[in-house]
């Protein structure tokens, strides 16, 4: 008789519903054609993300007590559930953004299948409670993303992006795997809490393992100096995919980073805290300085995402409850701003048919006021200006750092923000401040097709960005109950 473990179906439901959607989408690819295929597959993917989101909400509600299920391989708690809700939101918005992208007809359904599969992998990844599920989840969503980056084969940059992401990402995965092996070799355990129970502080092998795990995860959260793939991959990938990578991948990677470090390596807190702080400083410095000289908007946003990884890693480095709360809160407006900004870029790209640069953003402010003012809101949000959640997020991150006495991280963060003002406001300047004579009007063909779904996606992102400024209390309550799960 085979003993099978007790299966907690609800815990798996978010991942499974997206997997089901992915399977369905592969069927759609076979059995439909033309416009019907496009609509049906988008709808199926959207429905998949919404279902996953609903399951994640239910899971959040029914996980008052954190537990480890499925033979110590998966967590069932609010930390993962809240991240899953966010991931589902990102996925749903990405579907809306993707709808009118000019996919090759034969790729439409596969695209959505891969998107949902990546989403499923992330859902699984954030619940990982052992080194095995950690690596499994990471590879699961990464492989889907490698293909997604390269899916637009008509675009030279897309193939390049996919290849670069694949190679560099594989190095990251390999590093994580090696680190996991060392941690296992030292402790003889795979699950995080048992590693903590068997490990000792300052054990050389475990520490090397820890370092490699951090590096592997830093590749995914595109923190400097492990961000080399980010600008090229973000620039080359189809813009809706970029938006999904910038928001969802970052959510998954950072949430898991905090969890792994806090749960599996509590003895070495004072070690990884400074390692993470160093990575945060490097990301802030590198991301912001490199962004200044960019002209391509997607590259600017890519470096901006590196710098925001730095901000969120400050919360990780704080290694306290406030930091956990700060990270979960920060991710909400950050995800909305990233998705929204890339959505606006996608809209402009479709209108012009060329990559969006600061030069050809000119005039967007007056030709497409809704998109432009939304973009301005996202930029002010990234910059941490009030009336956006970005402001509260930075405030929380700084508070968390100060709470642990790491005031120098506040200084680094403040200086980084000052530098970032140049390029974020540069985008606003490009959209609004040019003279009419300098405007590069849209190429022939008049107004572009009305993009209702894309507009709705952008509007949703604006609402989240602004509402997270006013409704801090409910969001922070959610983040707090999620953060309590971590043994900090």
């Amino acid at each position: 008789m085979i003993h099978k473990p007790h299966v907690d179906w609800l815990d798996l439901a978010p991942a499974l519903s997206l997997l089901a959607a992915a399977g369905l989408l592969l069927m759609v690819a076979v059995f439909t054609r033309g416009g019907a295929r496009k609509s049906i597959s988008a709808f199926a993917a959207f429905a998949g993300f919404v279902t996953a989101g609903v399951f994640a909400i239910v899971l959040d509600d029914r996980s008052r007590h954190a537990s480890v299920v499925m033979r110590d391989t998966l967590f069932r708690d609010k930390w993962a559930a809240l991240a899953q809700v966010l991931l589902a939101g990102c996925g749903a918005v990405s579907v809306l953004v993707s709808f009118r992208e000019r996919w090759r007809e034969e790729h439409v359904a596969e695209y959505y299948a891969l998107l949902t599969a990546a989403g499923a992998g992330m859902m699984f990844f954030v619940q990982a409670a052992s080194l095995l599920t950690l690596f499994l989840g990471l590879e699961w969503f990464s492989i889907a993303l490698y293909v997604l980056s390269a899916i637009d084969i008509d675009l030279i940059g897309s193939l390049e992006a996919g290849l670069k992401y694949l190679i560099v990402g594989s190095i990251g995965s390999a590093t994580l795997l090696f680190g996991s092996a060392l941690a296992y070799g030292d402790t003889g355990q795979l699950s995080f809490d048992r590693i903590a129970a068997h490990g000792h502080g300052h054990d050389a092998m475990l520490v090397v393992g820890l370092a490699m795990v951090i590096v592997g995860l830093a590749f995914k959260s595109s923190a400097a100096p492990f961000h080399m793939w980010t600008p090229d991959a973000y620039q080359g990938a189809p813009t809706p995919v970029t938006g999904f990578m910038a928001s969802a991948t970052k959510i998954a990677a950072l949430v898991v980073t905090y969890r792994v470090l806090a749960v599996a390596f509590p003895h070495d807190t004072n070690l990884w805290r400074y390692a993470i702080a160093a990575i945060a400083c490097a990301s802030l410095a590198w991301g912001n300085v490199a962004a200044i000289v960019q002209r391509n908007v997607k590259r600017i946003l890519a470096y901006s995402s590196v710098s925001h990884a730095g901000f969120m890693l400050i919360a990780v480095a704080a290694a306290n409850q406030l930091g956990a709360r700060a990270l979960q809160y920060y991710l909400i407006p950050y995800a909305a701003m990233s998705l929204g900004a890339f959505a606006v870029v996608a809209a402009r790209e479709r209108e012009l048919g060329v990559p969006v640069t600061l030069q050809n953003l000119a005039g967007l402010g007056w030709e497409r006021p809704f998109f432009a003012w939304s973009m301005a809101a996202f930029m002010f949000g990234f910059l941490g200006f009030p009336l956006t959640g970005g402001f509260i997020g930075k405030f929380y991150v700084f508070s968390a750092a100060y709470d642990h006495g790491m005031w120098w991280l506040i200084v680094v963060g403040v200086v980084a923000t000052m530098i970032s003002a140049y390029y974020y406001l540069g985008i606003v300047r490009a959209m609004f401040f040019r003279d009419a004579a300098e405007l590069q009007l849209a190429p022939a063909g008049g107004a572009p097709a009305r993009e209702v779904l894309l507009g709705a996606a952008v509007a949703a992102c604006v609402v989240v960005t602004v509402a997270s400024f006013f409704a801090v209390q409910p969001l922070i309550d959610l983040a707090r109950s999620a953060g309590r799960v971590l043994p900090l």
């Binding site: 406030l322 200006f385 009030p386 000052m418 003002a421 406001l425 606003v428 300047r429 801090v472």
Partner: protein
């Protein structure tokens, strides 16, 4: 509804901005809608001033609710007596500027008026916020509309102007953010009415630099010439009339009460910087080649003078500073608007190209003459009252400061008379055509009420200076100190106040 009044004053213009932004009205009506909103705002301010008990030093018309509780950040707004005057100056100036923008017919009206109203709400918020984070949020929120207003509707050099403006302001305000985080977490609350004092020089500097940039004070004024020159005139008026006052308000409301011992140590440094701003600004104004240049450097000089009043640290200085803040808000707004009106007629503000504008333009000449005379503080004018109080206060601190102030007032007469004669008198400049009109009805409708306000204040400067701190002579801007004109009873966490409160008999 008293406790709603401050909230209404903050959010009425914001709601107006949203209405203007989305209302399906033809463009022609947007300006009138915005003007209406800004006038209603003035009406609400009059209501709030009439319901305000100026005899009490306490926070009034306040509202206090939790914003997010785990870091003890609150939505706490309310007004002290001096805030009432600052808010009043804001509403009046913004109404004048919105109406001027409407009359001039700014293009892209929807965005323009929405931003102007948003700016109104943010500035009122700065003067009303009693929670540090809320204060910071409004302080930063001012920057967004200003940045776009200068960048879109500004002159030819506006890109450089916005860049300088943003670099300076963002640097300052982020230093302040760091200071706020540390200070608030140290105190366990961000509520200004509850926080105690701090003796940290670093935090003090974080705040002071931010406010000195906003004011601007020497040597933090590098952004000012470009930003003021390249803005549309009504935005320059707002910048110099009101936004700069946010910096001075910050010194009054945050720096002086919260860092008494550091202020004590740094007073000379601050007074020196303020004196340099005053004299250097006046000299630059005297040398400025254009009308706006005179006004903008005089604005810097006035910020220096007001700062001297604040750091004189006695009732005379504080009363004078508040009165002079209100005066200068009105004076500077009028001057910038008039400069804009001149530029509309001559397409330049350069003094060597214009001149002789008085000929055949009696209304313009009278307006510029009147405001010029008020601004150079002739006796009987309200600016004279303000500057006299400040100088008297500074004299108590040390006669040297008063001498600097008096010299600068002579300089003020020189630069202002030079500007008046350069614009109105002398030979008719090449840029002045005979067809250039006198002030039109719309322009008079903006300028005359501002002048009337100033004339009224000249008749009755006590209206502000005796009602700036409540309780007749109570010095302190909050419930830290209670007491009447003869004794200062110190209570609460801010006993540090005693360190530099002058003996009651000193006046």
């Amino acid at each position: 509804m008293n406790h709603w009044l401050t909230t209404i004053l903050i959010f009425l213009p914001v709601a107006g901005a949203l209405l203007v932004a989305v209302a399906p009205l033809p463009r022609a009506y947007l300006g009138s809608l915005a003007a209406l909103v800004s006038l209603v705002e003035v009406g609400f301010w009059i209501t709030s001033a009439s319901r305000f008990d100026f005899g009490s030093p306490a926070l009034q018309l306040g509202q206090n609710g939790s914003w997010f509780s785990d870091l003890h950040v609150r939505y706490h707004v309310g007004q002290y007596a001096f805030s009432v005057w600052l808010v009043g100056a804001t509403t009046v100036v913004m109404a004048a500027c919105v109406i001027y923008g409407w009359w001039v017919g700014r293009d892209r009206a929807r965005a323009y008026f929405a931003l102007m109203l948003l700016l109104t709400g943010a500035i009122v918020g700065v003067f009303a916020a009693q929670d540090l984070l809320l204060f910071y949020a409004f302080f930063e929120a001012m920057l967004i509309p200003l940045y776009v207003l200068i960048g879109v509707w500004g002159g030819a050099g506006r890109l450089r102007g916005t860049l300088m403006f943003v670099i300076y302001t963002v640097v300052g305000s982020l230093l302040m953010l760091a200071a706020i985080v540390v200070y608030g977490l140290q105190q366990g609350t961000f509520d200004l009415t509850r926080t105690g004092t701090s003796s940290s020089t670093w935090l003090f500097l974080g705040f002071v630099v931010a406010f000195a940039i906003k004011s601007p004070l020497f040597p933090f004024h590098g952004w000012m010439p470009d930003a003021y020159r390249e803005s549309p005139p009504e935005v320059a008026a707002v910048l110099s009339g009101i936004v700069s006052k946010a910096g001075l308000y910050g010194l009054l409301r945050i720096v002086i009460p919260k860092f008494p011992s550091v202020v004590h140590d740094w007073r000379v440094v601050l007074l020196v910087l303020a004196s340099i701003s005053l004299v250097y600004g006046s000299l630059l104004a005297f040398r400025a080649p254009d009308f706006r240049g005179v006004v903008l450097y005089s604005s810097m000089a006035q910020s220096g003078l007001i700062t001297i009043g604040l750091f004189a640290n006695n009732d005379l200085g504080f009363d004078g500073a508040v009165l002079q803040i209100v005066n200068h808000a009105l004076v500077s707004t009028t001057l910038f608007l008039l400069a804009g009106m001149v530029e509309r007629r001559t397409a330049t503000g350069e003094l060597r190209l214009i001149g002789g504008l008085a000929r055949g333009r009696p209304a313009l000449a009278t307006a510029i003459m009147t405001i010029g005379i008020i601004s150079l503080a002739v006796p009987l004018s309200t600016t004279f009252a303000g500057e006299f109080l400040i100088l008297a206060g500074a004299f108590q601190q040390g006669w040297g400061w008063a001498v600097v102030g008096a010299v600068a007032i002579v300089l003020a007469a020189m630069y202002m008379l030079r500007a008046i004669s350069g614009v109105l008198h002398q030979d008719v400049g090449p840029a002045v055509s005979d067809a250039a009109l006198d002030l039109r009805v719309g322009e008079l409708a903006v300028v005359v009420p501002l002048l009337l306000c100033l004339v009224g204040l000249s008749a009755w400067p006590n209206l502000v200076s005796h009602r700036a701190f409540g309780g007749g002579r109570a010095l302190v801007p909050s419930g830290f100190v209670s007491g009447g004109s003869t004794t200062f009873t110190v209570s609460g966490p801010s006993a540090g106040w005693t360190a530099y409160v002058p003996p009651a008999g000193s006046r």
